[in-house]
Symmetry: C2
Subunit: 210 residues, 2 copies
């Protein structure tokens, strides 16, 4: 594929295309026009064409998009044809929920190890995976080709743990800690700040409450 800087806004929309195309595919739909896609996704047809043109188009004048092909191609763009090896750091409720969620594995995101600072839960298992002490993390990351660390730890320890993990070779963070990580530019961070999301909902409720 061509080297091109795609905006994060476009990238944010790709998983949504992927989701809708997956549904169309499951329903047996073979082709779809940008107008039809526009109607179900509630995005303008021109936005759809523009977004997909970033990756070379895929559409054919008068035919529209081939659903199966487009689904596969967007999956490839999203890197879903490769497997990722994950570790979870922080085996609290949220961390356990993430490990137990089957859909991630179906997409190639596979939890290989779980780490926690709490001795009382070390040795216990979450979905068959043993919770290990933090001191085993470095060796585990290096030996198991781990590329993504999922952080579900308090914000007080997140910065330090992230820094260690970068030195062990972690390439990406899925960060649920309520803090912005400071990592080198070549390391990818995707934040899920649940409190921020809830506050945004609160704002929208308050501002429509008049």
């Amino acid at each position: 594929m061509e080297e091109k800087e795609i905006s994060q806004a476009v990238i944010s929309r790709l998983p949504r295309y992927f989701r809708y195309l997956g549904e169309l595919k499951d329903e047996g739909t073979e082709r779809v026009s940008s107008q039809e896609l526009s109607d179900i996704m509630q995005v303008t047809a021109s936005q759809i064409r523009q977004d997909l043109n970033n990756f070379g188009g895929f559409g054919q004048q008068g035919y529209g998009y081939n659903v199966g092909y487009l689904y596969e191609e967007i999956g490839k763009i999203l890197g879903l044809h490769k497997e990722h090896n994950l570790i979870l750091v922080g085996a609290g409720h949220l961390g356990q929920a993430l490990v137990n969620y089957m859909n991630f594995e179906r997409r190639g995101f596979i939890f290989r190890g779980i780490f926690d600072i709490d001795e009382r839960i070390q040795g216990t298992k979450v979905r068959g995976i043993t919770v290990r002490p933090m001191r085993e993390m470095e060796r585990f990351v290096r030996e198991n080709d781990i590329d993504i660390a999922v952080l579900t730890i308090p914000k007080g320890s997140a910065l330090e743990v992230a820094e260690q993990l970068v030195s062990y070779g972690i390439k990406g963070f899925w960060n649920f800690a309520h803090v912005d990580l400071h990592v080198p530019e070549n390391i990818q961070v995707e934040n899920v700040h649940l409190s921020d999301s809830l506050m945004k909902l609160s704002y929208n409720l308050a501002s429509h409450d008049e």
Copy 2:
């Protein structure tokens, strides 16, 4: 406060301001310039001034911002001075994790009821709150002044449940179901699509892997 349409992009940044100001406040910092805030938040100073000007400014030439005052004011803008009554629909791992997370309650988001379709867990408790059958939901929402429903249910049932909840008087959804809800315009929806977030991370890993 003045009636003004604020962009969702600005609103998305408010919780982050709130978080950083809270930290400054906890450290005992009394005032901060937009330049200092810019340095810690890694946003330009002009962006900060522009964002805060949407709400009337708060800053004083040559003084900067009063941390405590700005923190309080942004909290009010975010609607955090009011309590919200929440129900959880779907008491799986993720739902339980959300109920167990203390920080939401500290911000005034209080889980009052939990509902699940699974008879085996009805009657059990999560953090002291009984899991109830779905048929009790309407009465519970109406009698307990519930304004927010947190949906941690499979996407297949989310649309129908959301529609019911709107008719019961729910004003906002915090939606973790992997589907876009269709609700009237006066109803607020904040989505947390975990799979989308993970795919975005995957994309960024793949596109930096060359």
